[in-house]
């Protein structure tokens, strides 16, 4: 690579980083009035307080384990991601969708050789795939109770397909992947539209009266997570298939 070690550029880069570093330090030690970036601000002083107490709609409401609340996901991060800030998450799905689309669009379609996998991998692949699918399924079904959720689940599911790709098995056609992608994507937004017609507001939860801590709780969260999981799985699998083309 020519000019990889250009001294001048290195010096300039160091200077820039140095100045930025000094600047951040000077801001950190600033003693002016007002809220500083180094102040110790707890979540109770932020909007997160309402998410933790689940009292966005009603300032004075409290909730009990096993009782109902405005949002019944036990995992509060999930409740933020898929309920309070659901719209962000749907956009995130779109980001993934469009980048993978772009990926498929610009990647050169040239021929690649497939190396035959070893017997061990070949034999164990179906079992692995089954395991991965199970883990993936568990992850998104329990997304509202424990760490996990649609995105990791999707990634895990897609590794099942990756295993298939590695062993040379055409587990699913690219066309059906595309269809899954579109159907799940449209479903996510269709639910939004349905909730608009049911409750008058987009993406508003319309499955009420479920209990915190139950497997089937969290309103729409498991449905969204399921859709997201399949969508992400389909999209990531698309990447593998781009390389799989003989």
């Amino acid at each position: 690579m020519k000019d990889e070690t250009s001294v001048l550029v290195n010096i300039i880069a160091f200077l820039i980083l140095f100045v930025i570093g000094i600047y951040i330090y000077s801001v950190a030690i600033d003693t002016g009035a007002g809220i500083k970036i180094t102040d110790n601000i707890t979540p109770t002083m932020r909007v997160a307080d309402k998410y933790l107490n689940k009292n966005v709609l009603d300032d004075n409401s409290t909730y009990q384990w096993g009782g109902t609340a405005e949002d019944t996901a036990a995992n509060i991060v999930t409740s933020v991601v898929v309920d309070y800030r659901l719209f962000d998450t749907t956009l995130e799905v779109i980001v993934l969708f469009i980048t993978i689309l772009g990926f498929g669009f610009v990647i050169p379609k040239d021929k690649r050789k497939i190396i035959k996998p070893t017997t061990i991998l070949n034999r164990w692949a179906p079992i692995l795939m089954l395991l991965m699918l199970m883990i993936g399924g568990y992850t998104f079904i329990n997304g509202h109770l424990s760490p996990g959720g649609g995105f990791p689940a999707g990634a895990i599911i897609s590794t099942a397909i990756l295993t298939g790709v590695l062993t040379g098995r055409r587990t699913i056609s690219q066309k059906s992947l595309k269809i899954i992608e579109a159907i799940t994507g449209i479903s996510i937004f269709s639910i939004g539209i349905i909730s608009y017609f049911l409750t008058g507001s987009f993406f508003q939860n319309f499955i009420l009266n479920d209990k915190i801590g139950d497997l089937f709780s969290g309103g729409l969260i498991p449905i969204f997570y399921g859709l997201i999981a399949f969508k992400v799985a389909a999209e990531l699998s698309n990447i593998y298939f781009e390389f799989y083309e003989e």
Partner: protein, 487 residues
């Protein structure tokens, strides 16, 4: 008016559908875009402005909300009109990915204008970036690949900066909502605020094409197909301008004095604005590739716009709005003319377009009118902008006066290269017999007529602009009232 979310949702659903529709995509694109346009018109005439929409039923600072105010609806209309007009220039068959990217771009630009949440805004910006990255790379040749990749790298770096800024805002103020930030920003430490502003503004200036954040611009314009040029100009730039107005003037402002908390930053913005203007005008001076000339000039216009909004004076701000409107129409005309002429001439070099102005005078006259408007000549829309900005900058301190001189010198340079191009169109030249449908001439002429109408009769948009400026004048209080009515 909760249904305003359809403006974002419908294009996204169309994007999913576009994977299967093949040739029908074009029709769907028209339907969706016209839906968006007519929906925004319905919102405009419904008389309910301003209003706030909580998505998911969560009230404002906690959930994500869409806000529709006078400025929003104005920019919404600009973006959707731009989308419709750009679509009309697509004649050939496009691959389905093109339409998918387009739908996402439409959704993202609409969303950028509508959203009332800073992280949501960031996501829409990212979506725009990826959509543009894909659209610029559409030809997948040498130039397009390089341009797209470099744009992607630059904007990814920039996006990390704005993400850090959002993180800092959340850490200090504990909120992500525009109105909530605006109401709390005065509690913030001055040094911390300038750190946040620096991080956020520098990533925003990438979209605003301000030097030295704009190295991607010329390459991206040159590498992309004509329709994408129009998307970049009409939708992305306009959304970027909206972002600048919303965030610089309405979120990070206190007591409705623009950028008062850190006037240093306003001064540097003025400095950058006129560096941008002079650099891009000089760059365009000897450029032969018409598209690149237009790209350079687009940068210059946004520089003048930034100059106008950084002065901290409402009349200068009004001038900036005029500049945006004039540039919006003028560049549309110019890109369409450039497209048609380059198809006939078989090259983008304007010197190969000799004599086309005699054969197709409508296009060349429209081009000339737009050029004169960009130069700020009287009787064209750009003049009123220049008058306001220059006049009010003269009342400011020294740095603004230097800016005035530079802007005027740059308008001289602009005059030289634009009128040289116009002259080339009108000069004698031998052109083969080509058939250009007269339909292609209609749109530029109509848009040029709009420029003329605004230029001759500024009353036509003066009041609209003042309504928007009143909104800015009354922010953040009025804006907060709409979104956080409980307080």
């Amino acid at each position: 008016m909760n249904s305003i979310v359809f403006l974002v949702v419908i294009p996204i659903i169309a994007a999913f559908l576009s994977l299967f529709l093949g040739k029908v995509n074009k029709l769907i694109a028209y339907i969706v875009t016209i839906f968006n346009l007519s929906f925004s018109i319905v919102v405009l005439v419904s008389g309910k402005i301003p209003f706030n929409v909580a998505i998911g039923g969560w009230r404002a600072p906690y959930g994500i909300n869409f806000v529709v105010s006078d400025i929003t609806i104005f920019f919404l209309l600009l973006i959707n009109v731009a989308a419709v007009l750009s679509l009309t220039t697509i004649k050939e068959h496009m691959e389905y990915q093109f339409y998918a990217f387009y739908f996402i771009l439409l959704a993202a630009t609409n969303g950028m204008v509508l959203t009332g949440d800073i992280f949501n805004f960031y996501l829409f910006t990212e979506l725009t970036t990826f959509a543009i990255g894909g659209l610029v790379a559409y030809k997948r040749d040498r130039l397009a690949t390089g341009a797209s990749l470099k744009y992607l790298i630059l904007s990814s770096t920039a996006s990390t900066f704005s993400l850090a800024a959002i993180g800092l805002i959340y850490k200090t103020l504990g909120t992500l909502n525009f109105a909530d930030i605006a109401s709390k920003i005065s509690n913030l430490n001055k040094a911390s605020l300038s750190l946040i502003l620096i991080l956020f503004i520098s990533s925003m200036l990438v979209e605003l094409k301000i030097f030295p954040f704009n190295i991607w611009v010329v390459k991206a314009y040159d590498a992309s197909i004509p329709a994408v040029n129009l998307f970049l100009h009409g939708m992305v730039s306009t959304a970027g301008v909206y972002g600048a107005i919303r965030i610089l003037l309405m979120v990070f402002s206190k007591n409705s004095i623009m950028l008062s908390q850190s006037s240093n930053i306003a001064n540097i913005l003025i400095l950058l604005a006129f560096i941008t203007v002079i650099i891009s005008e000089i760059g365009a001076l000897t450029e032969k590739n018409l598209i690149k000339v237009l790209a350079f000039s687009s940068m210059a216009q946004l520089g003048i716009f930034l100059f106008g909004i950084s002065l901290g004076n409402y009349e200068a701000l009004k001038g900036a709005f005029y500049i945006v409107i004039s540039n919006y129409f003028a560049k549309f005309v110019m890109f369409i003319v450039a497209k048609n002429y380059s198809v006939i001439a078989g090259s983008r070099n304007y010197e190969d377009m000799k004599g086309l102005g005699r054969k197709y005078p409508g296009l060349a006259i429209a081009f000339t009118i737009s050029a004169l408007s960009l130069m700020g000549m009287p009787f064209f829309a750009g003049f009123w902008g220049k008058l306001s900005i220059v006049g009010n900058a003269l009342l400011m301190d020294k740095i603004a006066i230097i800016g005035v001189i530079i802007i005027l010198i740059s308008s001289v340079i602009e005059g030289v290269y634009y009128l040289r191009i116009s002259h080339t169109f009108f000069s004698d030249g031998n052109i083969q017999d080509t058939k250009l449908s007269r339909i292609n001439c209609v749109l530029p002429i109509i848009l040029a007529a709009v420029i003329l109408i605004i230029g001759i009769y500024p009353n036509s948009i003066e009041n609209i602009i003042w309504t928007m400026i009143n909104e800015i004048q009354n922010t953040p209080e009025k804006y907060i009232q709409v979104i956080l009515p409980l307080k």
